[in-house]
């Protein structure tokens, strides 16, 4: 790996960061959620987080099972509500690092309003949103991210709803750090998650993650090799995307269709809820 990070081995991760009694994971074979865990642990290792002072919060879904595997404080909450619980943890004890794992359904479907307002308040929370285009845990129903025409058990004739772009939304809401990466290669996600954790303020890292069992099965991508390849082929770096949009040939532009932009969407600074609250307390405390 070309990053120059001193990457812990899987065996080391197992002993330092994992609840080994929880393994093997519940994830299907070929599922990319395990990779999200990998990358997060490597990022944590890079940042040098103290797991004694880090809380992992999640909602309900395959992806929301991740905190259970990490040997740290974990709060596996109700479906869609991870950010509400996480806000409570962070507001009550701003010294803790709070990292949220959520799914596209959990975080942007039922939980969309908490996403919206947590970003608005700019809570200092890092959200790792696993987008697999579908509700995996319940067996493959359409999600707000399901592509146009995508097949799921509740869109048996193809999805007619416009899919949601969570990163564009977060960006419009002013989230200080927003990035999207497919899990298919490790380097950028690891770096990006580390940046998100370091960012003072809300950070969203959307991980495009293959779900062969549900999304793959209904969309001709059940074979692992195929679905993992799809994620490489269907994603385009923001810079390249913009270059093509500006200077590309019509054919090149046509080829962007249906693909997804990846990269860092936003990286700015903004006062956090916790800092502002602390300032308020300093001002009015008796």
């Amino acid at each position: 790996m070309a990053t120059g990070l001193r990457i812990k081995t899987a065996a080391e991760l197992r002993t330092s960061y994992l609840r080994q009694e929880m393994f093997p994971t519940i994830f299907c074979d070929g599922c990319g959620i395990g990779n999200v865990l990998n990358y997060t642990l490597w990022a944590i290792d890079e940042v040098g987080l103290d797991l004694d002072r880090t809380v992992f919060v999640s909602g309900i879904g395959c992806s929301s099972r991740l905190p259970g595997y990490i040997n740290a404080d974990g709060l596996h909450t109700t479906h869609g509500r991870a950010l509400a619980f996480a806000s409570g943890v962070k507001a009550a004890n701003p010294d803790l690092t709070v990292i949220v794992f959520t799914g596209d359904g959990d975080g942007a479907g039922i939980g969309g309003n908490h996403l919206l307002h947590t970003i608005r308040r700019n809570m200092d929370i890092t959200v790792i949103l696993v987008n697999n285009f579908i509700y995996g845990m319940t067996g493959g129903q359409s999600a707000p991210t399901t592509p146009d025409g995508g097949f799921t058990t509740t869109t048996p004739y193809g999805n007619i709803e416009h899919p949601m772009d969570v990163c564009e939304l977060a960006k419009a809401l002013g989230a200080p750090y927003v990035a999207r990466w497919p899990v298919v290669s490790p380097v950028q996600p690891v770096k990006s998650i580390a940046e998100g954790i370091r960012k003072r303020g809300f950070a969203l890292i959307e991980m495009l993650t293959p779900c062969p069992t549900a999304y793959g099965r209904y969309n001709g991508l059940k074979a692992l090799e195929q679905i993992w390849r799809w994620y490489r082929e269907q994603t385009v770096l923001i810079d390249e995307w913009e270059w093509i949009e500006q200077f590309g040939s019509p054919e090149e532009r046509e080829r962007l269709r249906g693909k997804m932009k990846i990269g860092i969407f936003q990286d700015t600074e903004r006062e956090t809820f916790e800092d502002r609250w602390a300032a308020l307390v300093a001002r009015v405390k008796l």
């Binding site: 790996m1 990457i7 081995t9 899987a10 065996a11 080391e12 991760l13 197992r14 002993t15 994992l18 393994f23 093997p24 994971t25 994830f27 299907c28 074979d29 070929g30 599922c31 990319g32 959620i33 395990g34 990779n35 865990l37 990998n38 490597w42 490790p186 692992l224 090799e225 993992w228």
Partner: protein
């Protein structure tokens, strides 16, 4: 020279490691693991360059690549 350790209790036989190994050093074993899957095997030891991609990509923390010279805790 590198070797890989596979934790067969954790390996789900997804074969990601085999697929993504840049030197094609791994293969899927014919035998079944106790979980009932075919685990990977380092069949072409000489090819493995220790890039650790299989380890980084294994969703189940089941592979650890080790160098002869180095022992992990």
């Amino acid at each position: 020279m590198h070797t890989i350790q596979i934790d067969e209790r954790w390996c789900k036989g997804c074969a990601l490691c085999v697929i993504y190994c840049p030197t094609r050093a791994l293969e899927v074993a014919a035998r079944f693991s106790p979980r009932g899957v075919h685990p990977p095997e380092l069949v072409r030891v000489e090819r493995c360059n220790g890039c650790r991609l299989c380890e980084l990509l294994c969703p189940d923390f089941a592979i650890t690549v080790t160098e002869e010279s180095r022992v992990h805790a």
